[in-house]
Every structure is written in structure tokens, then in C-alpha cells.
């Protein structure tokens, strides 16, 4: 179960294709009433009943945090993925009842900042849309730099330019446009915080460049949800529950634990938050750590694993669950 996240029963109020890859979903509370408030940058975990498989995917909330009538998420279809986004695109229809988690924010604005510099890549735009709603309501200073593949895949780019004139800068890959990161970072007034959400390479680029330029680590924020990697099936012994669990090729360790009825904590399901950290009692083999949570030392130590994204190859793995 997810720590402190009660479930919300919602009904799909709208399914709106935005472009070739992205579809927007609007949820209202089933039976009416307000949804809980959230802050810009929060995500919700959507439960999908896909045949025998329960899929749980985290999506950033992109609606106005002040609007408690509905939540909106945007889902980019990933044909190479494990099927969550394909399920959302092909199976979810208006009027369908679904279960989502309470909002959790692992990418919140630092409200001590005097200015918020936002860097988005592709579908990484979604948390910023909620944050810009929040900041414009509070009179906060912000600036968005949004990198898209081309104009037709520039999800919400035109809307945002119209809504926040002078604050939104769009860069089209196909026209050779790119964010001039070093100039951008060199010219920010003191008190600026930078936020990045996008592909892994973009996040590493921003962290690396800002560190080289002397930016304080505390002023650089990022969010990247990892999809659990597929890999060879493996077996895990759970010492506390006294169960032996098989982890399938396209299943994460966390999903396998849940399917076996073991109460495993989680929040982000994407290797970022640290909630699912599990102690390793014994192992004979090799860990495949994919998370952003454990330090390199911990990863090498063989005492901890993040079951939401990481895997194992070898003879035996015994976990404290």
C-alpha cells in the first residue's frame, strides 16, 4: 500500500486527444463533491484494471490546483512501454469509473525562490502547467523554456504562449532550436530556482551544467518518473511473510509483491521518492539498480533495493518483507 495515500473513486469526465501521442483525461469525484487540494508538481497514481493485471502508473496533475472540481492528467502513448499508457489511450472512455491515489508532491515549488525558471522537455510539461496556474494566482515570477520535437507535438505550447505572454519560450528540435542553457543559467538573478522535467538526458544536462556553474544544489529541482524496466524473470524469498514470489519478465518486483498479497509500501512507483526501499537479507547474484534514490555506495553494498524499478539476476534473493 502507498503510505498515507487514501484512494479516490473517480469518474472519467472527458477524454480529449491533444495530438498524435498525447491524450488528456479529466476525472471528477464519483457521486459528486470536491477533490482534495494539491500543489503544483503533484502527481496521482492511476489504477488500471487491464485483464488480470493491475497497472499503477503515476501521472502529474496538470489542472489548476485551485480547481477542486476536477483533476486533469495528460498521457503520452508509449508503444514500447509495458502497456499502461496504451491502456489509458485505448481502454479508458468517458463515464468509466476508476481509482486514483490522493495527490502526492515530490516536485513542489520552493516558495522561498524569488524566481522560478522552468525547463520542460516533451510530456515533462505537465507538472509545470499546474505550477504556472499556482504561481500566476500568487503573483510569483516564472519563466518557461519548453523543448518539443516539432510544432505538431508541442503539447499545449500554443495555449501556454497565449496564456502567459512573454513568459513562455518554445524550442523546436526539427528547426534546430535548443535551449541555450549556459547563457540562461549565467544570467539569473540571485534567488532563482531551476526546475527540470523531461527525458533523463535533459535532467542530467541541467544538473551537470548548473553544478559546473556554481549553482547551489538546493536551487536545482528535477522530476523523472522511470518506467520499471523489463528483464529476465527471477525469484525472491520474502522472509517476513514467508512467501516465495516469482517476478515476471514485464513485471516489477513491487508489482509481484503486491500480486502475492504482500503489503509493500510505495509512493511514486518510479524510483524517485524512496518510500519502497527494502532491506536485503541475503543474495547470490547481481542487482540491477535503476532508481534515483539509493546512493552509489548503497547500490554497491547489496543491502537495499527499490522494488518499484530495480531487478535482480542470480540464484537467490531474500528480502525483509
Amino acid at each position: 500500500m502507498s503510505a498515507g495515500t487514501a484512494k479516490l473513486n473517480v469518474t472519467v469526465a472527458e477524454v480529449k486527444p491533444i495530438n498524435d501521442l498525447v491524450t488528456r483525461f479529466k476525472f471528477v469525484r464519483t457521486g459528486g463533491g470536491d477533490l482534495p487540494t494539491f500543489s503544483g508538481g503533484a502527481h496521482t497514481v492511476v489504477e488500471m484494471q487491464d485483464g488480470d493485471i493491475t497497472r499503477l502508473n503515476a501521472y502529474s496533475l496538470m489542472s489548476d490546483p485551485a480547481d477542486r472540481g476536477a483533476y486533469m492528467i495528460s498521457v503520452r502513448r508509449d508503444d514500447e512501454g509495458r502497456g499502461g499508457s496504451k491502456f489509458m489511450h485505448s481502454q479508458v472512455k468517458e463515464g468509466m469509473e476508476m481509482v486514483i491515489s490522493n495527490p502526492v508532491n515530490l516536485f513542489s515549488l520552493d516558495l522561498r525562490a524569488k524566481k522560478h525558471l522552468m525547463l520542460a522537455g516533451g510530456i515533462g510539461i505537465t507538472p509545470f502547467i499546474a505550477q504556472m496556474h499556482q504561481l500566476s494566482m500568487m503573483g510569483g515570477q516564472f519563466e518557461l523554456h519548453y523543448s518539443v520535437r516539432n510544432a505538431s507535438l508541442g503539447t499545449y505550447a500554443e495555449d501556454l504562449e497565449a496564456k502567459y505572454p512573454g513568459k513562455v519560450n518554445i524550442y523546436h528540435d526539427d528547426q534546430g532550436e535548443a535551449i541555450d542553457l549556459s547563457t540562461l543559467l549565467a544570467t539569473q538573478p540571485l534567488g532563482t530556482h531551476v526546475y527540470v522535467c523531461g527525458p533523463k538526458g535533459m535532467i542530467e544536462w541541467v544538473h551537470g551544467t548548473s553544478e559546473d556553474m556554481g549553482w547551489p544544489r538546493e536551487a536545482v529541482h528535477s522530476e523523472e518518473f522511470l518506467a520499471p524496466a523489463s528483464g529476465k524473470p527471477f525469484e525472491v524469498k520474502c522472509a517476513v511473510s514467508n512467501k516465495v514470489v516469482q517476478v515476471g519478465e514485464h513485471q516489477s518486483l513491487l508489482e509481484a509483491l503486491e500480486a502475492a498479497g504482500i503489503d509493500a509500501p510505495y509512493l511514486c512507483r518510479g524510483g524517485a521518492c524512496g518510500q519502497c526501499e527494502t532491506n536485503v537479507i541475503g543474495y547470490d547474484g547481481k542487482f540491477l539498480h535503476y532508481d534515483h534514490w539509493l546512493t552509489d555506495e548503497q547500490k554497491a553494498g547489496g543491502k537495499h533495493i527499490m522494488p518499484c524499478v530495480s531487478r535482480f539476476e542470480g540464484k537467490t534473493l531474500v528480502l525483509d518483507r
Binding site: 525562490a113 524569488k114 543559467l185 539569473q188 538573478p189 540571485l190 534567488g191 547551489p216 538546493e218 536551487a219
Partner: protein, 203 residues
Amino acid sequence: MSKTVFPPSIKSRPVYGELEARAGSGHLMIADAEGAEAILDLAKSADAAFWAKAHIIYIPKDTGRKYSSQLEELGAGQYYAGPSYEAAQSRIRRALLDCHMGTQVYLTGTESLMGQAMAEATAAGIPHTAIQTEHRGSTARRMQCVHCKGITEDVTTDPFECSHCGLSLFVRDHYSRRLAAFQGVRVDAEDPGNIPEKVELFK
């Protein structure tokens, strides 16, 4: 005088490190008295390009001209020496206003100097954990009287008399980052007139 080692204390008591030259678009160095030695030590590992981007604001206090010429010779882009923190304050504020993210701030010398400059730098938007500090020189404290709120500088004894209201105050390790001062509490509040003898704790 080398850097000071303070005994372990409560969480609110600031701790200081050792200055090191870091990558940055500029280097704002604020020091008083023996703090000059920390800058001169750092100079052993910094090149001319570093100093070209540096701005040193130095308050010699009672060290007079002892370090001035050595600091001037470092070749900092800007060098200022002033008679007091209060005199330098407007320059510190202006320097913080003009610099950009990526500027490194180095504070060294007395706790009073570091605390006040830290308050300016954090108000300007630099996270306090990103500001380097190194204690050098006097351990005399900047104290706030919790009764009259007046500040007494350079306190060396415990108890001491508040320079504003005259009460005898007990020197606590309880520190305020906002005020850049330790807290002084009336020592004879329970038993008026029973004031312990002064002990020189700080030099």
C-alpha cells in the same frame, strides 16, 4: 591564528567549515580581522582567473594594516576595506543585488560578521547551506538581550551587562539566524540581585 574548534553544543548553535575555492561565476568574499588568514590560505589553491572574478569586502577591526597589503596583492577584481560592518553593509547589499546565480559567497572571521553577512546573503536568495564559512579570530559574541531586544557586540564574559537596558545577562548557545545573534537571558530573574561573578569565556 588558525581556525577555531568550538565544543559540541545544541543544534541551533552555528558550525563553521573551511573555505575552499569553488567553481562559480563570481566570488564574493566578506571577512573581518583574522578572517584575512582564511582568504590567504584559500589563495594557495586559487589562480588569477579566480581572483579576477572576486570581490573582497574586508573589515580589519583591530588588526589595522596587518593583512591589508597581502589581501590587496591577491589581485581581486574589486577590493574594499572599511572601518566597520555597518559601514560595509550598503556595499554588501549592492554586491548581492548585482550578482547572478552561480556566485559563490565566502564568509570568514568573527561570528558576528559571518552571521550578519549570512543573513544578507540568504535574504538575497542564496540557500544558507550553499554559503561557505570559516571561523577565525575572536570568539567574542554578538548577543541579543531577550528583554529589551538590544544588541551588544563583542561580548567576552558570562554574565555580561546589556549595553541597552543594563540587566546582567546569561550567555546562551541559543542562536538566531534572523538576528545573527546569540540570546542573552537575565541571570538573576529568579533571585534578583544574585549575580554570579563574571567569567571570561570568549576572547
